[in-house]
Subunit: 401 residues, 2 copies
């Protein structure tokens, strides 16, 4: 497989426009009664019509048998090695609340917890306090500055929050303070290398202040931190592909991932119609658009086969708004499969459709798992989607003489 | 492709059971008259019936165009990189006679040969003496102890035998003593690094004693050694997959390979019916079973198309005994192809069928090379079989958040 260095070498700018539409959790499994997947059950005349003029296939987000989380699955779609570019838990959680991480920030995931008089943990989740309560407590801890490091504390959901340390020379190679068990005291943060001593010291001071601030409160009277991490320093899509890339996504996590690879994140609404409206408004200003539809994954996770079918039908219904722009390349796929029967992400390959004037159509006349199996793209790693899209936009020059 | 380290990180135990049935040399080539391969010629109603509920495909044991030996082909099926985990010739030969190698043992492959009065080799195979004669000579040399190293000498076949050196600090990085030509004297064993000096010295002493012991005998009056090697220290399948794995195989080489990756090797008979009986008797005690059927490969090697067809039919006939156990995942495949028309192992991809409740069936309704070509698994490296089987048993957790 080619490296991003090679792509960087042979990519060139051109006016051609690429749209990558990611229907989150698109791939599915057959309904036990009908034998048809969600996508096969949905009525998708517009996608089917495009399939006839497209080349189709199936992608493996990470590798055969591997069920990916959203972060590796998306990074792969953007062309990055999803295993080596793994994003830490603290950073992911922070992305998920739309917090604006800066390079060098260290983020950790936190729990409010309960400790007893002997300082032993009795409940790692403080009885799952409400998100509102969590927000109140975060306000008590937010805004500290220790040794020129600014500390942001923001609620996530229930007992969960994030802490972001912003300052110079912060190396995140430190242990968790969360022992992940009860009956023991909260741990302290220890550095795994001398360079991380500074962050470990500041994190422990923060934990000490939190202990003092929360003392006397119930049930949340202490904090546990884990997953200290910084954003991986990835080459941007602008650097690799020479694209001016924009993201249209309503969920924070996906906006965060798009930002991580250097896309401009556009404001948009929550429906596919809103997203296509945003696409139209900004169409002249970018040559790559990543559109993200969350509903299919959410329905799959809930085990709601019919709702997933409906989400796919909504996308199909709005799809002519996208094709009416006559982009040079249209890619429709998912980041991973989320079969309603499994109620979660899965390892199954994901159907993909790639339209361009320069694709070699393959006789596939509908967009579905079984039809894509006969597609001209075959079965291939998701990391190859971007090189293919670039090629079909004539944005990759010849390799070698 | 994912590393075993990643799989080790995301694997988990569960009661789900996986059966991997390896029909050795399964893949074939069309019969010149009928245009059908051995598998396509065989009547396999039971395998065909399971194919309908399964996902099928074709695997490459090592890489496109590479004809593998049994060791790399099997290691790949077990998930190990067949190129980096290569097993030395001495070790392989020793496994093939069911000798119980211990960690640290150094094994070498030996030839009885003929030397003339000037100590020049006149026949590297001593006129291919009989296996019985070879066994007699081995007894003369067996059981020596040199410098606290115990030396085992065991017959293999014809003029071939193995020597196993058992003791402390034996490093196998030494040259062959076999010059692989006649008209020259046998070489001595030389160390490629200082750590291997000890083994080289002991091997040369052994060769000296053999020369003395065999002097005056005809035609075998000397030994040639090559392929000094130790068992590669592989992480076990228990460590990687958290499986309790059992092997059911009647041929020594395959039992040896299974032992090498940490499987428990069960006693069994020589027929597929014996093996399925063993499977049933031990079904409760393990969650992974590797069953090996040798006959198809042996028939292919002999160029006996019809016998290979019959072996496959015997497997199909016994197959309901396996499915009646209702394992969560069933994989049926071969380690490599052995087309009868080629009379040997070949590079052709091998059909594979994977059944689980969670597979995505692909419309393939018979188990054959040509049908598998249309299968949902596509064509993929054999090293991915285990991750796929694990995923389908729901024994792999999500990678990344």
């Amino acid at each position: 497989m080619v490296s991003l260095d090679l792509i960087r070498e042979i990519s060139r700018t051109s006016p051609a426009k690429i749209i990558l539409l990611v229907i989150d959790g698109l791939g599915g499994l057959p309904h036990p009664e009908t034998g048809k997947t969600e996508l096969e059950t949905a009525s998708t005349p517009n996608l089917d019509r495009l399939a006839v003029k497209s080349v189709c296939g199936l992608i493996d987000p990470v590798s055969s048998g591997i069920t990916p989380g959203s972060a590796p699955a998306h990074l792969a779609l953007f062309g990055y090695d999803p295993i080596n570019c793994n994003v830490g838990r603290g950073v992911l959680e922070t992305m998920g609340i739309d917090f604006d991480l800066e390079p060098g920030d260290v983020a950790a995931r936190g729990n409010f917890c309960t400790v007893d008089k002997a300082s032993l943990i009795t409940d790692r989740r403080a009885g799952r306090i409400s998100t509102e309560k969590c927000a109140e407590l975060c306000q008590l801890l937010d805004g500290l500055a220790i040794d020129n490091v600014k500390i942001f504390v923001r609620p996530v959901r229930d007992h969960r929050f994030v802490v972001v340390f912003r300052g110079k020379n912060l190396i995140s190679d430190v242990s968790d303070s969360d022992p992940q068990q009860t009956g023991v005291p909260p741990g302290s943060v220890t550095a795994f290398c001398p360079e991380a001593d500074r962050l470990a010291g500041i994190a422990n001071q923060f934990i000490g202040r939190a202990r003092t601030t929360l003392a006397g409160l119930r049930p949340a009277n202490m904090v546990l931190l884990r997953g200290f991490s910084t954003q991986p320093c990835l080459p941007t899509m602008g650097e690799i592909y020479k694209l001016k890339a924009a993201a249209i996504a309503s969920y924070p996590m996906y906006r965060g991932l798009a930002k991580l690879v250097g896309m401009t994140v556009l404001s948009t609404g929550t429906t596919i119609e809103d997203e296509i409206k945003t696409l139209k408004q900004n169409y002249a200003d970018y040559d790559f658009f990543y559109l993200h539809v969350k509903g299919a994954d959410a329905a799959g996770e809930d085990g709601d086969f019919d709702r997933k079918v409906k989400v796919i039908e909504q996308v199909d219904n709005a799809f002519p708004g996208l094709t009416s722009l006559k982009p040079d390349v249209i890619v429709v796929t998912g980041d991973h499969s989320t079969p309603a029967t499994l109620k979660g992400h899965s390892w199954h390959p994901v159907p993909i459709l790639l339209y361009s004037k320069w694709c070699r159509p393959d006789g596939v006349d509908e967009f579905s798992e079984s039809a894509c199996l006969r597609g001209g793209l075959g079965r291939f790693p998701a990391t190859q989607v971007m090189p293919l899209a670039m090629a079909n936009a004539l944005k990759l020059t010849k390799f070698g003489a």
